[in-house]
Subunit: 218 residues, 4 copies
DNA sequence: CATGAATGAGCATTCATTCAT
DNA sequence: GATGAATGAATGCTCATTCAT
């Protein structure tokens, strides 16, 4: 059995208990900043306590274990990680004829870029722990594959049928698209390889790359 | 000053001292396996010692510190990480007219895929520590950007002049290409999202995605 | 830069925080006894912990490092090591005509003898570490020379002008006097070469030796 | 039973085996320098080996243990520490009437000063370990008291009978004289509180202090 | 004799967690 | 709820000593 049970935690946190104590809130904010900066296992609870201005015992009163603190911090992010967009689009696509995959892709990238930009630190934590911590990876990987990959595959299939997308296996296409977008986000928000300041141009670059690759056409 | 000085270590290890003791060799092999599996900082030296069948002191007699053991394991990999290909190709391209970027890309992917496949565990270590360990990242990032990015940019420029590649900034193209390939390698060798068994098909999929994207053409 | 910064520590410990925890107090007492008996570097923290009836971690919670424990134990002693007497006497001497150097010396010896007797163990620690530990010596030597030597020299000069003391350089006289007294204290409290039980007689012996040497006079 | 048995070692080393190997000789010289500088327990055998240009094993081949190396280095010094002078003088004094205690003292100080000056480093070692290492102290203290103290007491008694020295207990006088001389040697050769460059003047200062104290006489 | 790889007990220090107040 | 002193297992590292070559 897993030490983390992130998915259990996600279900449990259905009602996100908006009434966070001042202290509890402060601990979480501090933990996010420190985990993002130095990594989970390089951040002692003593340092979190000090930076948050609480006693070390208080952390354990609220979260029980350090692991639980990580979970508490990560779960709301994970729940918001699934682009609801994809599902909405899919429903819509089935009924009306709307727009092009290129437009969907553009909106998807824009949407996720904004989401990650607003949750930069937690994104860093999730990426780092996802790779570093085997248990977390084992918990999250199926979740991502199913929820994100799965929806995207459905969307892709629709556009393939319409003839806009190549007819390779939708799984392969989804994987390429996700890897490409995720890779660029990691590069931008974790490795801090800052590209252009102009965000719209950046989005356009990604979209055109994914759609048409690097070959010149006349 | 950095704790690691990986680049210094790389220069110093010019002649890799092939005369590795049995024990030293065993320690390194064991460390590679454990670091890859659980991450550097989650692997106690005591466990390495036990798994390698040596006394803990032996590790420190050979490597001095745990950090040095990591460096000793990583450095040869890093030195072989720069695709000499790119440089050779670049020289060749300047003199004769040979082949297409698509062919270059195919060879590059094939070459690096084989390299990483043969060094799977060390690749896992490097990827994980690269993201998790700030000092290592700070050491390696400029190295990668300059050596890998730099060479690729030069190659791209040549093919742009020949009209095979789109005329967006070569830096952007290089970044997209590298991110895409790196992302797929991470997905395959670190996250273990196994794709097709047919490797040639896999290479072809990447090449076609990078060259032409996902849009259908008649 | 020094590892110890004893003088810094002395300034910092201005208000010695009388509210010592039971445990903290117990640790310090135990450490004093063990350091005095076996020397600082021959006393493992584990042994201190065991003898003090606390967990080893508790030592580090209170003192951070073993070095700091030594400092915490030594500093109050050092601050009380300067005989305020000398300074007071000096001021007094400048205004009124009071007593003889012989009387001053007798009081000085009596005062310091009592002080060391009451701090026997810490005196042992200081003497041993002073000789054994280069860094501690480098920290303390200038302090002693200036504070103890300096004041004594001033006193000696006054009595030289009054014609009670020989007119050799005051520095030389001070050095002889200090060496002689310190040597006898070390002999008594560190080497445990117990002299007479009669302390007053002991003091008188020292004073007469310093004043008149060993030559018989009629 | 003692770990050291210095006295046993002294007896055993009766014939000092002049045929010291090159390596053995080099090890001892290096050990002397390092022990004097950093103290016995702060000097790893590995460092001695390196500095001496031998393998670490070689030290143990020759000396068996690190303790034995210390003993090997110290013992010849200890054997030469007893001023044969005192004994010779005593024999001489019983037969003829020669010179004054003051002259004896002057010669004693000169003789020991030269001895220590020529064996400065071993003197440092002996002083430091004598204070720091209980076992060594327990071994050497009785030896010093008996051999050095004992002889001096006899000499003093003779001069007391002749009326040159005060008639306090000879033991007390001996102790004062030894403490005073030893203290000044420690101050000069261990603490490095350099006095005058003029050695004869220094000797004279000590002699006059011991003989007549600090009181001015007309 | 000499070597140096190997050993493993021992050490200072860290840190998540507990619990009495 | 909040505190922070106390815990003790775990960790990286040191070093005297052994032994096969």
């Amino acid at each position: 059995m897993s030490k983390y049970n992130l998915l259990e935690a996600m279900k449990a946190q259905a009602k996100p208990a908006l009434k966070l104590t001042d202290k509890k809130q402060k601990i979480m904010e501090t933990a996010v900043a420190l985990f993002a900066e130095k990594g989970y296992s390089n951040t002692p609870t003593s340092e979190i306590a000090k930076a948050a201005g609480v006693a070390e015992g208080t952390i354990f009163r609220h979260f029980g274990t350090k692991d639980n603190l990580l979970v508490a911090v990560i779960v709301p992010f994970l729940k918001a990680s699934i682009p609801s967009m994809a599902e909405e689009l899919f429903t819509e696509l089935m009924s009306h004829d709307v727009f092009f995959f290129e437009d969907f892709l553009r909106e998807l990238v824009r949407d996720r870029l904004n989401f990650v930009k607003e949750n930069k630190e937690i994104f860093q934590i999730v990426v780092k722990e996802f790779l570093y911590n085997e248990e977390i990876r084992n918990e999250l990987l199926p979740y991502f594959v199913e929820n994100i990959g799965g929806r995207l595959i459905q969307v892709i299939r629709v556009f393939q049928e319409r003839g806009e997308l190549v007819s390779r296996p939708a799984e392969d296409i989804a994987k390429l698209v996700v890897t490409c977008i995720a890779g660029l986000f990691v590069s931008k928000f974790v490795l801090m390889l800052n590209g252009t300041a102009d965000e719209e141009a950046e989005i356009e670059t990604i979209v055109r790359f994914v759609m048409d690759g690097v070959r010149k056409r006349e």
